[in-house]
Symmetry: C2
Subunit: 162 residues, 2 copies
């Protein structure tokens, strides 16, 4: 399966989450972070995350992850463009990579994945790359499920301009 | 009253809050955001905030603010150094500017003010300047109290190197 890269816009990304970006309309823009965590009220936390290795195109996506109980926000602090891969899940809970979409986020665009959205791990195209990651403060790994795809999804390099 | 600028370090800032900064010891560093909001469990939110005007030294501080029910985190997304002024409060709840301290934060250092810590508004020394502001999602202004100081605090420019 081969997938073309789309530009990241709020409308395109709406089924999967929120684009965190100032549109220039106001000096202060508020965003909701829906950090429902299985109905339990918990203190959210965040982490600063430096990604050591960039990805390059064409990219083979072989593993996806999901947080069944938490929304998750990535906000770029340092760095340039990243790839954001998302797909729907099936009735059995497994990802359906054939529904996948991949977006090119600029270094000024963050994303908040809705709770329970399958996605690929942080995929910066350039280094250095540092993000703030905001989500409910669960013990390490408690709310992360990994899934190895039986067949890789190929992100094409030619349509990089979106 | 005239105050010299200190470098921002976790130890110096500990009475007032947390310094949000990667120290290079690990690619992922977690921080607690204590968003107690008067005991009520609320969804935290955040905002992207672009500051239109920088401050210059010497700086006269004439107004302080406090959030009685919320911690508040500022994370620089774009920009350079900022000044961070904090002081203790008295038994009457008013700020005691004579206890004030002022820190120079680099463009890679965020701060999380503890709940109920008097502080000066965002004070970037350079533009452009954009921050992510993370705090409990209260209606505009609900948890912000402003206080006009009877006498300005003067932040000296000469000791800028800390």
């Amino acid at each position: 399966m081969r997938l073309e890269i789309e530009p990241l816009t709020a409308a395109r990304f709406a089924p999967f989450g929120t684009v965190i970006e100032q549109d220039g309309s106001a000096p202060l823009q508020r965003f909701d972070l829906v950090h429902a965590h299985g109905g339990r009220a918990e203190t959210p936390g965040f982490a600063l995350f430096t990604v050591a290795a960039a990805v390059s195109l064409p990219l083979e996506i072989r593993q996806l992850e999901i947080h069944p109980h938490s929304a998750q926000t990535f906000l770029p602090l340092v760095g340039g463009t990243s790839l954001v891969f998302v797909c729907e899940g099936g009735p059995d809970g497994a990802p359906r990579p054939e529904t996948g979409r991949v977006f090119r986020a600029t270094g000024r665009q963050g994303v908040c994945y809705h709770r329970g959205v399958w996605h690929h791990r942080l995929s910066p195209l350039e280094l250095p790359s540092q993000y703030a990651v905001i989500m409910t403060h669960a013990p390490e790994g408690e709310d992360t499920v990994l899934f190895d795809l039986p067949e890789a999804v190929l992100i094409a390099g030619d349509a990089a301009a979106g």
